[in-house]
Symmetry: C2
Subunit: 152 residues, 2 copies
């Protein structure tokens, strides 16, 4: 394979992922707008609905996001009345993100979102699961590579 062809292949794979991510976002956006959420805000709410109140630190681990992204995002959720932020009593460095009644109630309205997304993809659940497995494997490999790169 000649070098320009490598660049061509590179364009294809990195672009495909980039484009798929943004296309996904484009389908979620109007659905989530009805709930008053952005896509990353929805991810935070999904984690809170599933796992209950969490400190910012734990949220960041689940979502692979740092405080520079989460701090302002959670503040916007608080401004929208969906969560409250409380300094932990045991460890005052930690800020606990708690669902409000309104935030918990929003879950009911979110039930239809996954169904509509699923139908938009045209994929059946098995195919989605397979794709997910592959993406997670890719992410793990890339993260490992980034870490060894960093420690070299």
């Amino acid at each position: 394979m000649t070098e320009p062809e490598w660049l061509r292949l590179d364009r294809q794979i990195c672009f495909s992922l980039h484009a798929a991510s943004r296309a996904f976002n484009g389908v979620y956006r109007p659905l989530l707008a009805d709930l008053g959420l952005t896509y990353p805000q929805y991810l935070v709410m999904l984690v809170l609905w599933e796992e209950g109140d969490l400190p910012v630190k734990k949220l960041g681990e689940r979502l692979r996001l740092d405080s520079g992204t989460l701090s302002p995002l959670v503040k916007r959720l608080e401004a929208a009345g969906l969560v409250r932020r409380e300094r932990s009593a045991e460890d005052e460095r930690s800020v606990l993100v708690r669902l409000t009644g309104e935030g918990a109630a929003l879950r009911e309205r979110a039930f239809e979102v996954p169904r509509r997304i699923m139908s938009a993809t045209g994929f059946d659940p098995a195919e989605i699961g397979e794709l997910r497995e592959r993406l997670d494997r890719l992410t793990a490999a890339l993260d490992a590579a980034a870490r060894t790169e960093a420690t070299r």
Copy 2:
């Protein structure tokens, strides 16, 4: 399947894609920093290297990006001396993005990037091609769904 399980599945697939996209970015970032490029800037350069000088409009079609994103990005490439922007003579609404000698020369230094990315993924070219095919199909389905949504 109960409703909370749907939300759980939703968290998995949309999060997987989101995370993979950012993980990819994380591996490219340090490699591209050596070239003085960000990841989206690299995508623009790949298109220009492959297809030659293009108007902003065409770049946007290739990359699925609008002028709101491309205008400042291309200006930064111009500030870095990699491209020049020229009003088209035939159609003065159009701005042609042209590689400078420096921009064209950067291609040689970019050759190693795809190889290092490929090894970071731990995937072989066939597997990458398969993933890419699936992602492109997903993107096409999502775009189509977004369009029918919009025209309803």
